[in-house]
C-alpha cells in the first residue's frame, strides 16, 4: 500500500465513522444499536449500504443502526485484528462484530470474541481452522476444505497430465489451503512439480521463484494468495511460460486485480465465493454503486451487506443481547429458516460454517467475468 493509498484509506475511515456516528446520535432518539466492523475498505461500502437501507426504513424497531469501525483499527494483520477485537469486546455498546478481512485476522480475533462472548461473523475467513474457532464465530463462506477440492478438481481437468505448481502465501489462509489442495491432488494422482511458500508483499525471492518455476515447467500454476504478489512476477512469467494456466484461490480478487492496468493478469482464473452476476435487484444496485466509483464489487462487500442485515434481524428478534443474538444466529438453517441474503440463502452448519459455493471467474481485458463453460474442461 502506497502512502497515498494509506492516506485515502484513513480519510475514508474517518469520514465513514463520522457519518455513522452522526447518523446514530439524535436528541431524544432511542439508544442506537451498534455493530462493530473490521473489514477492508472495499467491503465497507457494502456495510454502509446495508446500514443506510435499514435506517431509512426506521432502523431496528426504532433504534438506529450504527456501524463502529473501531477507528480503522484492524487492517489485514493479525496484530491489528487482535487490537480491534479487544476494543470491540470491551465496548458494551457493540452487540456483534462483522470481520475480519481474511482468515488470519479472523482467526486471531476469534479467540478474543469467543472468550468475551461476542458474535463474530466473518465474510472472509475460509481457513479450515475457523471451524474450530468457537461457538461465537460464524462465517458466510465455506471452509477451504471444499475450495481445495474444487481447485484440485479444476487442475485435474485442466489437461490430460497436468503439471501443477503451487505457490501459496505462508499464513493461516494459504498454508491450510495449500495442504488441502496438495492432498486432493495426490488423491487425484497428481504430484505437484513445484511447491513453494511466499511472504505477502515480499519481493526478495521473486527471481528465484521464477527460475524455479521455469525449471519445473508446470502446465498450471495454483496461486494461493493475493493478486498483487502475482502481479510482480506476472510479466516475466508470461514471457517464460506463455501457455501457463494460472488458477487463483478466492483471495485473489481482493488483492487489487483491478489495478492491473497493464493486463498482466489477463486470463487468470480465480475462485469467487459468490455469483456476483446473479439476478438480484439489491445486488445490482450495490454493484452499480461500486461501478459508479470506478470499482468492482467483491465478495466481501456483498457478504458484509448480508451480514449487517442478518445481525439486524437477530437484534430485532432477540433484542440487544449478545448471547441471545448468538443463539438466534446459530439457529439459522436449523431451528429457524434460512436467511435470504443478496448472496443467496444463508444457513449455518454445526460449526458456524456456511454451505460453500464456488464460482470460477476469469480476468479479461476490461472486466472480471465468469469463466465460460467452454473453458471449464480444457485450458485455453
Amino acid at each position: 500500500m502506497t502512502d497515498h493509498q494509506g492516506r485515502r484509506f484513513r480519510v475514508a475511515y474517518v469520514l465513514l465513522a463520522s457519518a455513522f456516528a452522526i447518523s446514530g446520535v439524535g436528541c431524544g432518539e432511542p439508544r442506537p444499536y451498534v455493530i462493530g466492523v473490521a473489514l477492508d475498505r472495499s467491503a465497507l461500502d457494502g456495510v454502509a449500504a446495508a446500514a443506510q437501507r435499514i435506517n431509512a426504513r426506521g432502523g431496528i424497531d426504532g433504534h438506529r443502526l450504527v456501524i463502529d469501525t473501531a477507528s480503522g483499527v484492524g487492517g489485514t494483520t493479525a496484530r491489528g485484528a487482535l487490537e480491534a477485537a479487544e476494543k470491540f469486546a470491551a465496548d458494551p455498546r457493540i452487540l456483534a462484530v462483522i470481520g475480519h478481512s481474511n482468515s488470519g485476522t479472523s482467526l486471531a480475533a476469534s479467540q478474543v470474541y469467543n472468550t468475551r462472548h461476542v458474535v463474530q461473523i466473518s465474510p472472509a475467513a475460509t481457513s479450515p481452522l475457523y471451524s474450530d474457532a468457537g461457538p461465537y464465530s460464524f462465517r458466510l463462506v465455506g471452509s477451504d476444505v471444499h475450495q481445495a477440492a474444487f481447485l484440485a478438481g479444476h487442475i485435474a481437468r485442466s489437461s490430460a497430465a497436468p503439471r501443477a505448481a503451487i505457490m501459496y502465501v505462508n499464513n493461516d489462509y494459504g498454508r491450510p489451503l495449500h495442504d488441502a489442495v496438495v492432498e486432493n491432488l495426490r488423491t487425484a494422482g497428481i504430484v505437484p512439480v513445484y511447491v513453494s511458500p511466499f511472504a505477502q508483499r515480499d519481493s526478495a525471492g521473486d527471481a528465484e521463484v521464477l527460475d524455479a518455476l521455469t525449471r519445473a515447467r508446470p502446465t498450471v500454476l495454483m496461486w494461493i494468495g493475493r493478486a498483487f504478489d502475482l502481479q510482480r512476477i506476472a510479466r516475466e512469467l508470461r514471457v517464460r511460460m506463455p501457455n501457463l494456466l494460472v488458477l487463483a484461490s478466492d483471495a485473489f480478487p481482493g488483492g487489487g486485480a483491478r489495478l492491473d492496468s497493464a493486463g498482466l493478469l489477463d486470463g487468470v482464473r480465480h475462485v469467487r465465493l459468490l455469483d456476483l452476476d446473479r439476478a438480484d435487484t439489491v445486488l445490482a444496485g450495490l454493484r452499480a454503486s461500486y461501478r459508479k466509483d470506478g470499482r468492482d464489487i467483491n465478495d466481501q462487500a456483498v457478504l458484509s451487506y448480508d451480514a449487517v442485515n442478518l445481525l439486524a434481524e437477530a437484534i430485532r428478534a432477540m433484542g440487544p443481547d449478545r448471547e441471545r443474538i448468538r443463539v438466534w444466529v446459530e439457529q439459522i438453517g436449523m431451528a429457524r429458516p434460512v436467511f435470504a441474503g443478496i448472496s443467496g440463502s444463508i444457513a449455518f452448519g454445526p460449526q458456524g460454517d456456511r454451505q460453500p459455493q464456488y464460482f470460477l471467474y476469469v480476468i479479461g481485458k476490461k472486466d472480471d467475468r465468469p469463466l465460460p463453460d467452454s473453458l471449464r474442461q480444457r485450458p485455453r
Binding site: 479467540q111 478474543v112 499464513n171 498454508r175 495442504d179 515480499d202 525471492g205 528465484e208 521463484v209
Partner: protein, 532 residues
C-alpha cells in the same frame, strides 16, 4: 390459668427452637464448608489447570524452537547434499511447528501473548520462505548464493527465537498476574473462612448459652422443686416457662404438687378430726361412767330419801309434839328448853323434810306428756336442791316468779333445765367471781313466758359455742359439755327456745322462752302439794 400459660408459650416451642437452631447451624456450616471446599477446589483446579496449560505452552514453545532448529539444520544439510530428503524433512518439521503454533489459537492468552504468537508465526513464515528461496538457489546450482541466502535464514531464526522468548516472557507475566490474583483470592478465602469459623463459633456459643438458659436452667429448677416436694415442701411450685414443652411439664408438676398438698391437708384434717373424736370419745366415756355413777347414786339417793322420809316425818312429828309440850310447860326453864332445843329441831327437821321431798321430786322419772306446770314451784324445787351449795360458796340464789304463772312443759325435765342452768351459774360465780343468781319470769303478753337466769359472774367466754355439744368452759372432769345441749333439747320439746347473752358490765343471762299455760287443775295441784 394453665390454659393461659400454655397459650402464652404456644408460639414458642422448644422443639421448633432447637430445630431452627440446628437447621441454621447445620445449614451455615454446610454452606460454609461447601463454599470453602468449592472455592478451594476451584482455586486449586484453576492453578493446576493454568500450570498445566502453562507447562504445555512452554513445551509447545520448546517444540517450536526445536522444530525450527531442525528445519534450519535440514536447510543447511540440503545445501551440503541437495536432495528431496532434507526438503521433505524441512517441510515436515515446518508443518509440525505450524501445528504447534495453531494450538495457541485455542488457548486463553493475554493480548500481549497473543500478539507474540502472531510474531512467532510471522517469523516462522518468513523463515520458511527464506529457506525455500535458498532451496530454489541450491536446486539451480547456485550454491554460493544459496549459502548467502541462508544467512538471512539465521536472522529469521533468531527473530523467531526472539519472538518465542517474548511470548514466554509475556506468558510468564500473564501467569504471574494470574497467580497474584489467585493469591489475593486465596487470601480473601482465608479471611472468609476465618470469618465463617468465627461466626460458627459465635453461633455455637449462642446455641450453648441458649440451651443453658432455655433448657438446662428450667430443668435444674424443675429438679430442685421436685426435691423440695420430696422433702415435704408441698408449696414448692415451678413458675411459667418460656417454651411450651417446659410449660406443659411445669403445669403438670404444679398440678401434681397441688394435689399432693390437698391430699396432705386432707389427711392432716382427718387426723385432727380423728384425734378430737378420740378425745371426745374418751371424755364421753368417762362422763358416761360418771353419769352411771351419778345415776346409781341418784337411785340410791332417791331410795335413801324415800327411806328417810318416814323417819323424818316421825322425827318431825315427835319434835313438833315435843315443842308443843315444852311450850306448854309451866316452868320457864322447860319452855326455854323448848325454845332452845325443840324449836331448832323442828326447824331443821322441816328443812330436811323439804330437802328429801325435793330430792324425791327431782328423782322422779320424767313423763312424756307436756302439761301446764306451775313455773314458780317447779323452779323453787330446783333451787331448793342447790340452795345449800350456793350458801356454802357464799353466793345467793333468788327466785322472783309470780306464783300463778304456768307454762307448757314436763315438770321433771323443766327441773333438770333449771338445775343445769343453776349449776352453770354457780360454777361461773365460783370460778369467775360474782355475788349470785336471780331467776325471774315475765309474761310477754302473748303466748310466751320469758324465764331469765341472770348472774353477775364473768359472762360466757365464747357465747357462739355455748350451745354446741361437748363445748365446755369448765375444768377437765368438771363438765361434759352436754348440759346446755340437754337444756336446748328439752326446751325445744316444750315448744320454746333458749338464748344466751352476756350482760354489761358483767354477768350472763340465759333466757328460756316457754309457752304460757293456763293454771293447772286442782287435782294435779293437790297431787303436787300432797307430794310435797
Amino acid at each position: 390459668m394453665t390454659a393461659s400459660r400454655t397459650g402464652a408459650a404456644s408460639g414458642r416451642t422448644l422443639r421448633r427452637m432447637l430445630l431452627v437452631v440446628a437447621l441454621l447451624t447445620s445449614s451455615a456450616a454446610a454452606a460454609a464448608m461447601l463454599g470453602a471446599v468449592s472455592l478451594v477446589k476451584s482455586l486449586r483446579e484453576n492453578v493446576e489447570r493454568d500450570t498445566e496449560v502453562f507447562m504445555e505452552e512452554q513445551r509447545m514453545a520448546d517444540r517450536i524452537v526445536v522444530l525450527t532448529n531442525e528445519q534450519q539444520l535440514a536447510a543447511y544439510r540440503e545445501l551440503e547434499r541437495p536432495g528431496t530428503v532434507n526438503t521433505a524433512l524441512f517441510s515436515a518439521r515446518g508443518d509440525s511447528a505450524y501445528r504447534e503454533m495453531r494450538r495457541y489459537l485455542f488457548h486463553e492468552l493475554s493480548l500481549e501473548a497473543r500478539l507474540q504468537v502472531e510474531s512467532i508465526k510471522e517469523a516462522h513464515q518468513l523463515f520458511e520462505v527464506a529457506a525455500n528461496r535458498s532451496f530454489d538457489l541450491s536446486n539451480a546450482g547456485r550454491t554460493d548464493e544459496a549459502r548467502k541466502r541462508l544467512s538471512s535464514l539465521d536472522a529469521r531464526a533468531e527473530a523467531l527465537d526472539s519472538a518465542v522468548s517474548k511470548f514466554r516472557a509475556a506468558r510468564e507475566r500473564q501467569r504471574n498476574e494470574f497467580r497474584a490474583s489467585h493469591a489475593v483470592l486465596a487470601q480473601r478465602l482465608d479471611r472468609a473462612l476465618l470469618l465463617v469459623a468465627g461466626a460458627l463459633v459465635l453461633l455455637g456459643i449462642v446455641v450453648a448459652v441458649t440451651l443453658l438458659r432455655r433448657v438446662l436452667r428450667p430443668l435444674d429448677h424443675l429438679a430442685t422443686m421436685a426435691g423440695r416436694i420430696a422433702e415435704g415442701d408441698t408449696l414448692a411450685r415451678v413458675p411459667p416457662q418460656n417454651y411450651r414443652e417446659f410449660d406443659v411439664v411445669a403445669n403438670g408438676f404444679n398440678h401434681m404438687a397441688g394435689r399432693v398438698q390437698a391430699a396432705r391437708d386432707e389427711v392432716v384434717a382427718q387426723n385432727l378430726e380423728l384425734h378430737q373424736a378420740l378425745e371426745h370419745l374418751r371424755a364421753t366415756q368417762e362422763d358416761l361412767v360418771q353419769h352411771e355413777k351419778l345415776s346409781a347414786m341418784g337411785q340410791m339417793l332417791a331410795g335413801l330419801a324415800h327411806e328417810l322420809n318416814n323417819p323424818l316425818a316421825g322425827i318431825l312429828g315427835m319434835a313438833e309434839v315435843l315443842q308443843d309440850e315444852l311450850a306448854r310447860a309451866p316452868e320457864r326453864d322447860t319452855r326455854e328448853l323448848g325454845t332452845e332445843f325443840a324449836e331448832p329441831l323442828v326447824r331443821e327437821a322441816v328443812r330436811a323434810n323439804a330437802l328429801v321431798r325435793s330430792l324425791l321430786q327431782f328423782a322422779r322419772k320424767p313423763g312424756d306428756v307436756l302439761e301446764s306446770v306451775p313455773l314458780g314451784a317447779t323452779l323453787s324445787t330446783a333451787v331448793g336442791l342447790r340452795a345449800h351449795a350456793f350458801a356454802q360458796q357464799g353466793k345467793t340464789v333468788r327466785v322472783d316468779i309470780p306464783t300463778d304463772l304456768c307454762v307448757i312443759a314436763e315438770a321433771q325435765k323443766l327441773q333438770q333445765v333449771a338445775v343445769n342452768l343453776i349449776n352453770n351459774a354457780l360454777d361461773a360465780l365460783v370460778t369467775g367471781g360474782g355475788t349470785g343468781l336471780v331467776i325471774s319470769a315475765t309474761h310477754d303478753g302473748g303466748e310466751f313466758v320469758l324465764v331469765e337466769f341472770h348472774d353477775d359472774g364473768p359472762g360466757i367466754p365464747d357465747i357462739a359455742l355455748a350451745f354446741t355439744p361437748f363445748h365446755t368452759t369448765k375444768a377437765a372432769g368438771k363438765g361434759t359439755g352436754l348440759g346446755l345441749g340437754l337444756v336446748t333439747r328439752f326446751v325445744k320439746e316444750f315448744g320454746g327456745t333458749v338464748n344466751a347473752h352476756n350482760v354489761t358490765p358483767r354477768g350472763a343471762c340465759i333466757t328460756v322462752r316457754l309457752l304460757v299455760a293456763p293454771e293447772p287443775p286442782s287435782e294435779s295441784r293437790n297431787e303436787s302439794e300432797e307430794d310435797n
